[in-house]
């Protein structure tokens, strides 16, 4: 039997996709769709449930005074964290791929926070941020900065969490960039050098375009994961003081597991989905202009 080219392509694709897609459908897609259904119910985490249509969504936007607050907090976190994380990760990746010796040691050190349990380091960071006794205040004190109760003041708590998160998280993207930079054919860089390009030009003209798929990946993933920030805010402040660090998924978690309002939490999750989706589609749009694929 002769298959058309399209059919053949389809068949190959099915072959390659099926191992992942079966598990994906079962373990990811079905629960995700179920959460959408749950969001249309007055669905206590356990007990009697009632279909209420879009009421959860309406309540979220009209009745819940905390929702705009957590949205605002989350946006600030995402913006600062993604920017700092990507810039730092890219800078360190470029730096480390350029030194000859000790590069593996350094990247291990910068990656170490990733593998360290956040319950443990979270407490240490709290001690570092402590008013009067903390290292950070003592260091800033040298320059005459007055004592700051970092985690106990509404104005500074979020910055403290962002600092801690960047420390904890940028190693991830650094590794992605290092892998991307190493995939660049040496010959291309050499060719550019011979043409008389300086380091900066090599970076802009050769390296940046060639690792742009990695950068795209890193930004998309970091945006997605930082919109879902949970561990950091849960462990460092539990959303306090006075909701200054209460973020969307923390609030969602509290609704689902502490206030036992699963339906409401699911609605929140789908609003979050919509927001992240818009951002991601925007980035996919932009990638057509900025990301170079082979």
């Amino acid at each position: 039997m002769q298959l058309g080219k399209n059919q053949r392509n389809m068949l190959t694709a099915v072959g390659f996709l099926s191992p992942n897609i079966i598990g994906f459908m079962l373990f990811t897609a079905i629960p995700v769709v179920q959460s959408l259904i749950i969001s249309l119910y007055d669905w206590p985490t356990f007990g009697e449930r009632k279909f209420i249509g879009l009421q959860n969504y309406i309540d979220l936007f009209t009745k819940d005074p905390l929702f705009p607050k957590v949205m605002g907090n989350t946006s600030i976190y995402v913006f600062c964290y993604v920017a700092l994380n990507i810039v730092l990760a890219l800078a360190m990746a470029l730096w480390l791929t350029n030194i000859r010796r000790g590069e593996k040691l350094y990247r291990s050190v910068f990656f170490l926070p990733q593998v360290t349990p956040i319950v443990a380091t979270g407490m240490i960071w709290k001690w570092l941020f402590l008013p009067k006794y903390g290292i950070i205040n003592n260091f800033l004190g040298i320059f005459g900065v007055p004592d700051i109760n970092w985690l106990g003041t509404t104005g500074t708590a979020m910055s403290a969490i962002i600092i801690m998160s960047v420390w904890q998280g940028f190693g991830y993207n650094m590794i992605i960039f290092i892998a991307g930079l190493y995939a660049i054919p040496e010959s291309q860089i050499e060719a550019a050098r011979i043409d008389g390009a300086g380091k900066w030009q090599v970076f802009i003209k050769i390296k940046l375009p060639l690792i742009s798929p990695s950068i795209f990946f890193a930004i998309v993933m970091t945006v997605i994961s930082s919109f879902q920030v949970f561990d950091q805010t849960m462990i460092m402040t539990a959303g306090g003081p006075a909701n200054a660090t209460n973020t969307l998924v923390l609030y969602l978690y509290n609704n689902a597991f502490t206030y036992l309002k699963m339906g409401y939490a699911a609605a929140m999750a789908w609003v979050l989905f919509a927001i992240i989706m818009i951002f991601t589609l925007l980035q996919m749009r932009l990638q057509k202009d900025f990301v170079t694929y082979e």
Binding site: T45, F46, P131, G152, G239
Partner: protein
């Protein structure tokens, strides 16, 4: 590439082989034996061992009932329990705390009143009535309590000695207490510590004569007497008599301030005494809580065991929790220092164990008398209400808003929550 994959495969196979050798699990359950699953929160290996011993006691008493303990940490418990109840087929025996009970009991737990009524030898009157009330909805009882306690004031004897001050047994008014706290200020030490959690502040409100909970299930937090109380506590912080909160992510922040030894007094229940001894290096004394503007009042809370609604073996589970809260079990718990027993007949075991602690017996016994001890019975949706209040109290104690404004704001949100 091949090397990379081979390394992974070898690692998987190697660990898998250890695993294959490791699990020779055989369930030799005969048809008559009933295995009950028991979900419990624990804080140490020792504690888990003690609960297992009580579980073994159940089998000793009822040879065809086997109780299998599974444990989580404290915070994990409150994630795991709702998930288990949501997933169907939850463990048969569950732990429950009086302050969280209302949101769980009706939807997830088996009513016990009938079992208790039909049981001639449980002697329900032996349990402290306030805590039974805390684990009931209306007239229906859902859990049998194992521990309870009134709030008392713990104090750091070494710190009192260091400043040459008499122990705080003679405090008669709120002003006395403030005066006492002022003695410790200014040397990196504090007179007391003020938490922002409602569950720990209720005692202060009771003392002001305010009633936080109305009979119809509503919560009134912007009552003028509560505002006054909060202003009083705010004063303690602003004057440096109590530390300013620096860690809202830690629900034991106030306790850990006390363990560290820089804080002279704090309020807590007798359930924490063993822990204080383990975690601190100073001598600790106990006295009654300081009075508020009007009265000396002490909130009473506790925990117990209940049975999940969907259990296949309600009768056996009842026998099991009855045994877990029997005189025998509770005197063991008291002897280990795990709990002030909910049964009055075995409380002395606990006092004997902690005979070295100044004032414990008198403070606890006086605090649970009916004119001082008030059961802390929370309404439905309490977790969301209490979090709302906490977040506003944080704003007040930091100094971002006045007590009145903060509590008005909290009230508005609470009305929204309870009105839904």
């Amino acid at each position: 590439m091949r090397k990379l994959m081979t390394t992974v495969c070898i690692m998987v196979i190697a660990t898998g082989m250890i695993f294959a050798g490791g699990t020779g699990e055989s369930k030799s359950s005969t048809t008559e034996t009933v295995t009950l699953r028991w979900l419990m929160q624990v804080a140490s290996a020792e504690e888990a061992r003690q609960w297992r011993e009580l579980a073994a006691g159940v089998t000793e008493r009822y040879p065809d009932i086997l109780v299998e303990l599974s444990t989580t940490d404290w915070n994990g418990y409150w994630t795991k329990l709702p998930s288990e109840l949501a997933g169907g087929n939850p463990p048969d025996i569950l732990y429950m705390q009086s302050m969280r009970a209302k949101d769980y009991l009706e939807a997830g737990f088996l009513p016990l009143s009938q079992y208790v009524a039909d049981d001639p030898d449980i002697n329900i009157a032996d349990f402290y009535s306030g805590i039974l009330e805390g684990l009931s909805i209306g007239e229906e009882l859902y859990c049998l309590p194992y521990d309870f306690g009134p709030y008392v004031m713990f104090y750091n004897q070494d710190l009192f000695d260091l400043y040459g001050l008499p122990y705080p047994d003679t405090i008669e008014t709120a002003e006395d207490f403030e005066e006492l706290c002022s003695q410790f200020a200014g040397h990196d030490t504090y007179g007391t510590v003020v938490p922002t959690v409602m569950d720990k502040l209720y005692t202060y409100f009771l003392g002001s004569g305010a009633s936080l909970f109305a009979a119809d299930g509503t919560v009134k937090v912007n009552d003028s007497r509560i505002i006054e109380t909060i202003e009083y506590l705010q004063g303690l912080i602003d004057q440096g008599y109590a530390p300013r909160i620096s860690d809202t992510g830690n629900n034991n922040w106030d306790r850990e301030q006390f363990y560290a030894g820089n804080v002279a007094t704090y309020l807590d229940g007798p359930w924490n005494l063993t822990n204080i001894k383990e975690k601190s290096s100073f001598a600790v004394g106990v006295t009654m809580v300081p009075p508020g503007n009007l009265y000396r009042r002490s909130q009473v809370a506790g925990s117990g065991f209940g049975i999940s609604k969907d259990t296949d073996y309600p009768g056996e589970a009842y026998l099991a929790i009855k045994e877990l809260t029997s005189k025998n079990s509770l005197s063991k718990l008291a002897g280990w220092g795990r709990a002030l027993p909910a049964r009055s007949s075995v409380r002395d075991v606990y006092y004997k164990l902690h005979a070295d602690v100044n004032g414990l017996h008198d403070a606890v016994e006086k605090s649970i008398t009916t004119d001082i001890g008030v059961p802390f019975i929370t309404p439905m949706k309490w977790q969301q209400v209490t979090n709302t209040i906490s977040q506003n109290l944080e704003a007040i104690f930091i100094g971002n808003v006045s007590a009145r404004k903060g509590l008005d704001n909290a009230q508005e949100i609470i009305d929204g929550i309870l009105g839904q």
